[in-house]
């Protein structure tokens, strides 16, 4: 059994806004959400990178204590976008709790804020156990905390998938959710990812010389995907959720359809865990097109992973050039908000549906002088009115994990 799968709702918390209007405004006006890194009394003094894609606006959470007690910051983000999606979906509680709705949601490493508290207890001088780890600390910090706090809050009883593959976490959530519906195992899936403010992740990339460090005094000018002056990625925070439904089910109930998912691929480079891999990425894109049963020239727009690292952007551009030539427009949305890690795939997919709906393509921010090694593709340099019919969203992660999602306007 193969069924059509559509995206019917979405919500995101990003460094460039929370509502669709706020996010679109930032894209249209070229507003960056990258800010100065906040001091944290642990790592920030030792990190060379001084910038972070920051969610610095208030979010009006109204979760009952029953739910809050097992939530760390990452679960707050996840549950908020999930709540907004479910509330806007019009799905009734009988369906939500029926077992026909599942959840595919993850994060890079659960809640590092809570993990820090746990480690503090481990390494404190006190040998007394009664002032140490709380009963709920594990539930707040565990790697699938986002997915199961969502199931708890809404009484969801269907499948749970909680990928944790760093930068491909939420693109896998969407892809695996798509396959779950396509092959008849669920009728709807709530998919996405989240990551909270965390300097540990910055330290990891900083240590590998992969973070931007030259724009600490002008945060809005970095990251700079595909630009000659790019000097690395910028870690950021956020969350994104999408509701996927079986097409006939969505149509029958009169749901708004944002896009159809027509293809998904996921593979591994089969080797190094860090270095970008041309053959691996090329294969991912080709596998995505094959799954969608379309040719490369059918794709109007590509949302590139485009982190702004020295080699990652070159390899990605060249892989796109191999497959697409210079046909589809290409933009990298991390240029606006940094790398939202586990949520980037969901946020970038949602942004692509916003552009499909509103008829525009946002340019890659800070792309002033294209690196000639990245010049073989059709970079979006200016805001343009465009009717995107088919778009590809590609993401790549540490560990050599690659994904490509293909969506279509219907």
């Amino acid at each position: 059994m193969e069924r059509r799968v559509v995206i019917t709702q979405g919500s995101a918390i990003t460094p460039v806004g929370h509502t669709k209007d706020e996010i679109v405004k930032s894209l249209v006006e070229g507003i960056s959400g990258v800010k100065e890194l906040r001091p944290d009394d642990l790592l920030s003094d030792f990190i060379h990178c001084g910038v972070f894609g920051t969610v610095d606006y208030p979010i009006a959470y109204d979760f009952k204590r029953l739910y809050r007690k097992t939530m760390g910051p990452v679960a707050y983000y996840a549950c908020q976008v999930a709540k907004e999606v479910l509330e806007a979906s019009g799905l009734n509680n009988d369906f939500i709790t029926s077992g026909r709705l599942g959840v595919a949601f993850g994060s890079t490493h659960g809640s590092p804020t809570v993990q820090r508290q746990i480690y503090k207890s481990f390494f404190s001088q006190s040998r007394s156990s009664f002032s140490s780890i709380g009963a709920v600390d594990y539930l707040k910090s565990m790697v699938h905390t986002t997915a199961v706090n969502i199931t708890k809050m809404f009484g969801i009883t269907g499948r749970v998938i909680s990928s944790s593959t760093a930068c491909t976490t939420s693109s896998q959530s969407i892809g695996f959710g798509y396959e779950t519906i396509k092959y008849g195992m669920q009728d709807a899936m709530l998919c996405g990812g989240a990551d909270e403010y965390d300097t540990t992740t910055v330290a990891v990339f900083d240590n590998l010389l992969a973070c931007s460090t030259e724009f600490n005094d002008t945060p809005h000018l970095t990251p700079r995907p595909f630009d000659k002056q790019r000097d690395g990625l910028v870690v950021s925070e956020g969350a994104g959720a999408l509701l996927l439904e079986e097409f006939e089910f969505a149509k029958k109930r009169g749901a708004t359809i944002l896009a159809e998912i027509i293809g998904f691929s996921c593979n591994n480079n089969g080797g190094d865990l860090i270095l970008p891999n041309m053959d691996g990425i090329t294969a991912t894109i080709k596998l995505g097109l094959k799954d969608a049963e379309i040719s490369a020239d059918s794709v109007d727009f590509v949302s590139a992973h485009a982190t702004g690292t020295k080699m990652g952007d070159v390899i990605e551009a060249q892989a796109m050039g191999r497959v697409y030539g210079d046909s589809p427009k290409v933009s990298g949305f991390k240029s606006y908000m940094g790398h939202t890690m586990g949520s980037c795939g969901a946020i970038e997919t949602l942004i692509t549906t916003y552009m499909m709906e509103e008829g525009f393509i946002a340019p890659t921010l800070n792309l002033e002088n294209i690196d000639q090694r990245c010049a073989m593709i059709n970079h979006t340099r200016e805001l343009s009115e465009s009717d995107i019919r088919i778009a590809a969203i590609q993401n790549f992660a540490f560990g050599g994990v690659n994904t490509c999602l293909i969506i279509k306007k219907i």
């Binding site: 204590r65 156990s129 009664f130 002032s131 709380g134 009963a135 709920v136």
Partner: protein, 91 residues
């Protein structure tokens, strides 16, 4: 500590830690206030801090039958009495 003092402290913990305002002394905490097993574990930690003494595994397991604030007060009085004689509550 007197029972009144223990009561005040427990009511404060319920308000500050569990956001439960003025629970009735005989309320079924689970039914009336959604106080579940995770909360019970958190409460035991607060009791350890209150008594300044760790609870044994057996003492913690005994606490899992507790349903009301009065049960909690009885439990703490038992613990307190055992500690003054240098003992723990037997199984």
């Amino acid at each position: 500590m007197t029972r009144d003092e223990i009561t005040s402290e427990i009511i404060r913990i319920f308000r500050d830690q569990f956001e439960i305002e003025r629970p009735g002394l005989d309320d079924d905490l689970r039914d009336a206030h959604e106080f579940d097993s995770i909360d019970a574990i958190e409460l035991l930690r607060e009791i350890e801090i209150m008594l300044g003494s760790e609870l044994t595994q057996a003492e913690k397991k005994n606490a899992m039958e507790i349903r009301t604030i009065n049960d909690i007060l009885d439990y703490i009085e038992l613990l307190s009495a055992a500690r003054t004689t240098g003992n723990t509550i037997p199984n």
